[in-house]
Symmetry: C3
Subunit: 350 residues, 3 copies
């Protein structure tokens, strides 16, 4: 379904250089774009790709307007990356008009559940007693909304999500397949060399505009709730322990693990595979690099890293062996320094 540049600019703004009638059939990356495609250049430093891309039209920053216009149609905007993000949303809405909402006849909806108007529920979904779904919610196939759970307006639960008893999700959230919200937190008291379960009596509270990636788990709190604030973005296969707080607009990449009762500030980022230990506090604006382990609270915004640098295996083996003697090396260095100090001292004051 071709779309004109005029329609795009009318919907999303930006200054068009070229004909409003120019048609584009696909959004594409610079390097893969073909004739008929619309692509974008986020920053002036990628200007060299202007001459190699086959895209028929480009979204560019003002600094590239002249060069881009010389080669063909372009839309000029201050933040092409953001423009392109909005364009993907507009494009998806245009090309994937959502079906009329329906309650699939195979879905099991408890008579005590409350469903607002315009709710869409897929095959084999289960909505338990006392659960509440606000208007515009979409519940995918096989998704289970537990007793007294609350789902906010226009939230999308993909197929095969579990929302546990009493957990709440805000508005306009997106929860991908396989997510488990509200499994028990990992809490046990030791007794006679065995573990006695601490029932997890809290729940999970998720704000508005949160996105949660596939197979990610957010545990319910032990006594109080686990809290995910507005605008948080979690990638796939993330583990959020009980009683964690994730502050507003914090983003975490895949495979991150956050242990119980960690308190993570707003506007943080956590790189893929990083681990945050329990009962720590991260200030707002902390950025943790991929695969780093946060073992202490961090009070100041900034970028923090702890990761063994990769090397060819033979070099790594030698350095790792030396690392196991590093403290001893430090002592030996100190001894050498003292020997030199002693040796040189008499000369100074003969």
């Amino acid at each position: 379904m071709p779309t004109s540049l005029g329609a795009i600019v009318e919907a999303l703004g930006g200054v068009l250089s070229g004909s409003t009638e120019t048609q584009v059939t696909r959004l594409a990356s610079l390097s893969n774009a073909q004739k008929g495609d619309l692509s974008f250049i986020a920053q002036a430093r990628y200007a060299a790709q202007l001459s190699t891309t086959h895209a028929s039209a480009l979204v560019v920053p003002p600094s590239l307007q002249e060069l881009a216009a010389a080669r063909g149609a372009c839309i000029v905007t201050d933040d092409p990356y953001l423009y392109f993000a909005r364009l993907t949303q507009w494009w998806a809405a245009l090309h994937n008009a959502p079906a009329q909402p329906e309650i699939h006849p195979t879905a099991q909806i408890h008579p005590d559940a409350q469903l607002a108007s315009g709710v869409d529920i897929g095959p084999f979904a289960v909505v338990e007693a006392g659960a509440s779904l606000a208007s515009g919610c979409r519940v995918g196939a096989h998704t289970v909304v537990g007793r007294r759970a609350v789902i906010g307006a226009n939230t999308l639960l993909y197929p095969r999500v579990v929302v546990g008893e009493r957990c709440t999700i805000g508005e306009r959230c997106i929860v991908h397949a396989g997510v488990v919200i509200g499994a028990d937190g990992f809490g046990f008291a030791p007794s006679n060399r065995t573990w006695v379960k601490i029932e997890q009596l809290g729940a999970v509270r998720i704000g508005n505009d949160v996105e949660i990636g596939a197979n990610t788990c957010i545990d319910r709190g032990a006594l109080e709730d686990t809290v995910i604030e507005d605008g948080v973005k979690l990638d796939n296969l993330i583990q959020i322990g009980h009683n964690v707080r994730v502050g507003a607009h914090t983003a975490m990449a895949g495979c991150v693990g956050v242990a119980g009762s960690a308190d993570i500030g707003a506007h943080c980022t956590v790189g893929g595979g990083a681990i945050v230990l329990g009962h720590l506090k991260l200030a707002d604006g902390v950025n943790v690099s991929a695969a780093s382990v946060v073992t202490r609270s961090i009070a100041r915004p900034g970028l923090y890293t702890g990761m063994f640098p990769i090397d060819d295996n033979a070099a790594w083996e030698k350095n790792a062996a030396s690392l196991k003697q590093l403290n001893r090396l430090r002592e030996r260095l100190k001894a050498v320094e003292q020997a030199i100090a002693q040796a040189t001292e008499p000369r100074k004051t003969p």
Copy 2:
């Protein structure tokens, strides 16, 4: 539903200081407790919080009895944390009386499956031919119990669990949503630069009183079984490879990976995100810190760690760069030591 301290002490023991008629309406943490709440102080070193908490009643150790009694009602017991664990269980049983067991009409139960009395099966669950569910089992919505699988008495499978063919689970286990028990182990023989699948003919055997967290995977053995012994506690998103043994009462935090044929002793703990390589043996009582990589067998109990310390990124970059030359630094230090030894030797024996 308020509960009297008298009823609690009658059920769980402990010495009550204050009126048996005192009512509590909620269990809460010290810092969040409000009037009407019951909280606990695990150890004398938290005594300062006695004066700041708003809890109406406290569970305390004998050493805090006097201070706690001075501020209000308290239950005195040797191990408040354990007492509180049992209290959460009692509380949950009191407030969440389980529904009458039923076989949901949408569940697909193969006529050759064996169901004991008092089994509860949720909507859309599938129980295949030859599977056996002992009395008091609960099988959640969408859970699949494969052919000839065996589930012990009073075990709870949450929604959306898969128990593969021939796998067995003991009594009183709790298996959270999304768990996959008995997927194929990862076994391939190389041939002409491709991989030839080794069919995984074993199964998974899980003991009694095991808890398995959401989206955790336990693979079936290649020839013999993967074994999880009694009382093991696994958190979410853990990977247990084929033919692993996890010894009794061992606990693992989230995101741990255990490679094939690792043999982990009893009463071990493995911190979040740690990796245990394959074909290793860990003695009983080994504790592995979070995010550490076990690359060799460990024969003695104790705490083991291997983790790059986190730092601000600029400091990390410098230290990581130096680390890649560490073995060279060690050689340079040795050369310096020799130079000093040579320089000082003549003075000793002039």
Copy 3:
């Protein structure tokens, strides 16, 4: 069901030493084998186990033929491990004859889906509009095949798999329970300290003979597709970000995370828990050790490692503390070297 060695050799080749009538009832590992079992010895260096195993028959390399034949029946073949892999396949086919394919009456198949002959679909599976299943496909219970998704011939989707809209899977693939193919990639543009979603318009394309482990996630591309080439083997709980390419016959162990747009060559291996950062290129034949973090492109085949060596915790603490001063130590060493150079220089040229 006992099987004769003659039947095995007839099916799989190899030179039998002993009676074709010898019956074996089980395949077993050397150390667990009992009377009646068939086991294998992959390499001559395990020859000592010849005298301790209780197996009734063995698959051995030519170098062990004499020793093995002296103790009982054996099958001689150049690559016993590969032979045993094929034997497990033959054995599984013999003992687990697949049921007649059927479309379970509870499955929801959209009238616009295309199903070839011999397709098997389990209870509560969902096949959406425009999806296409080639002949011999098996779709497990609760599995969802999204709109316009394509599944190749003889591919097996275990229960509870999600294949998203427009994603394609080749022939003879095996996809284990809980896998999510085609969830949205993790893409957001920052705006006013919040995140604006980039709709993920690409899909996932998976080649032939690919195996994907339980609860693994492969995200759809942002604009173009995420690509998994022929013969790739992925273990459990792996995260593959959007627009990643995984080259043919590459294998990854459990808990690996691959960030967006990483381009991984053919015939690579990635150890368990390793992380590959985004927008990197790994050449063909690169082997990454477990738990290592790939932070830069790797242009040459070989083994690469970066992992803090595990140690007892006290030793680790000292070495980790020194590590945080490593760059300073290096500077101190340099100063010492200079001091020595100065001290020794005057003697040379007095």
